[in-house]
Amino acid sequence: MRRRVLPGFGISLGYAVSYLGLIVLLPLAALAWKASGIGGEGLLRLLSSPRTLAALKLSFGGALLAALINAFIGLLVAWALVRYRFPGRRLFDALIDLPFALPTAVAGIALTALYAPNGWLGRWLVPLGIQVAYAPLGVLLAMVFVGFPFVVRTLQPVLQSLDRDVEEAAESLGASRWQTFARVILPVLVPTLLTGFALALARAVGEYGSVIFIAGNIPMRSEIAPLLIVQKLEAFDYAGAAALGVVMLSFSFLLLILISLLQRWSNRWEERAA
């Protein structure tokens, strides 16, 4: 092994592994152990129930859509914050983190109060036939809200380190504005954008507190998977609740692996292009 400048590989790896084991793997193992009580047949019944499927579809579909929206808006916001100087920029920048700091239940109640049929926005939207609160759209809105800071915060440092010369060079070599963006800037941003997307997605999938207030929670329509877990706990069905938890986790894990593969692929693509 090559000698390193700084010593301590063994101890820091050991520390990292045991910490990860204690904080992440141990609770997951306990979850899997609890879930195993349901048995193969029980799991099959759980997974083939239309209600479970509808809830999973809403949770994951909603989270994917919310992460997409956040990736798009987040890119715009990060761009505006990094590239332009305008009055109130610092305040605006500080506000981005607010969804992190707010207890999610408070966020849910605030959103519901806004979009309920008698709320400030709801009273104008509902007559137009746009129902946000107590509908799947409300679930999406809450998910966008809690995931918003991730994309902005991951993109900002990368955008800051992006040299303006490259754009100028592209322009002087005859690239159109769109070409500059699509062929020069975006490829550099894609891996980070994917990281932000993955974080926003993971956050939205697991979100309970804020969604529960705005969803309406009607089975097959606006019922999220975490609520099904709570319902099972409420009926003292620990194994069923844990099993559904494991199903959600496996799904999320697959999605995250997929995203990291995409990231690797885009990294390689970028290297080859360079």
Binding site: S49, P50, R51, A54, T112, A113, A116, P117, N118, G119, A133, Y134, I212, F213, G216, N217, I218, P219, M220, R221, L227, V230, Q231, K232, L233, E234, A235, F236, D237, G240
Partner: protein
Amino acid sequence: MKKRTVLLAIVGTLMAASAMAKDVTLLNASYDPTRELYKDVNQAFAAQWKAQHGDTVTIQMSHGGSGKQARSVVDGLPADVVTLALAYDVDAVADHGLLAKDWQKRLPDNASPYTSTIVFLVRKGNPKGIKDWPDLLKPGVKVITPNPKTSGGARWNFLAAWGYALKQPGGNEVKARAFVRDLYRQVPVLDTGARGATNTFAQRGIGDVLLAWENEALLSQRELGKDGFQIVLPSISILAEPPVAIVDKNVDQHGTREVADAYLKFLYSPQGQELEAKHFYRPRSAEVARKYAAQFPRVNTFTIDELGGWRQAQAKFFADGAIFDQIGPGN
């Protein structure tokens, strides 16, 4: 590890203190709407105990959804007494060996010192003309009730509707099932708890009728003003009996059986009954009930035992894949 040491130190100090000054601490695990009630009860009981025994009792409260509270006690919340929304949740604690299975026979009146019932809360002037259960199925009437799978109160609502349909002339299970199915089709929002449903109805302005505990309905009427809402008593409803019990295993460990027992008996005393009536729970004592007759009009009720008791009701209606799931969409 460090946290645990600190905790042990605190517990140790508390125990030492209690040994010297005979200060007693009780923990009461209760459900959500009893917050205001037990604040008053605890104060009154502590004063009485001090006068009779010279010891200081401090009663700590833990509030939450009834089912969640039962789970916490099962999982180790050291509650000396539980005062929950329905007997099924206390049964669940008993099933885990924390108290005797016949707990409901150890205190009078099914171990429920106070009762309530399920009523309709409607908007001022009752614009949809809601008088009884069938009116809830009229086209365009929106009903707010929480999800019985996550809320103890909502289970009483469901059973009240079921019992009504069953008790009609020619009523049977098939008709009752159709009735509750149609009723839940009128529900635009299924909140997870009773307070959430009250908020949806009162603050968000959703729905025409709120199915609610009578005590919650009276409370929201007082809090939100008499002119906002009206209470409608249906022709028949369910007698909700929120039970109380000593958690044997915990009181024996803490050595608090005597005071915990006195605490629960206090709920049956004239003073306790008076406080409960003041907080909108129907008292068991006929004398106190007479005094509050204006607040609690006579209402025809049936009990959960007529529907086979809580264990059976839970399995039949609210378990996974049981009737509530069957009447819902997606099954």
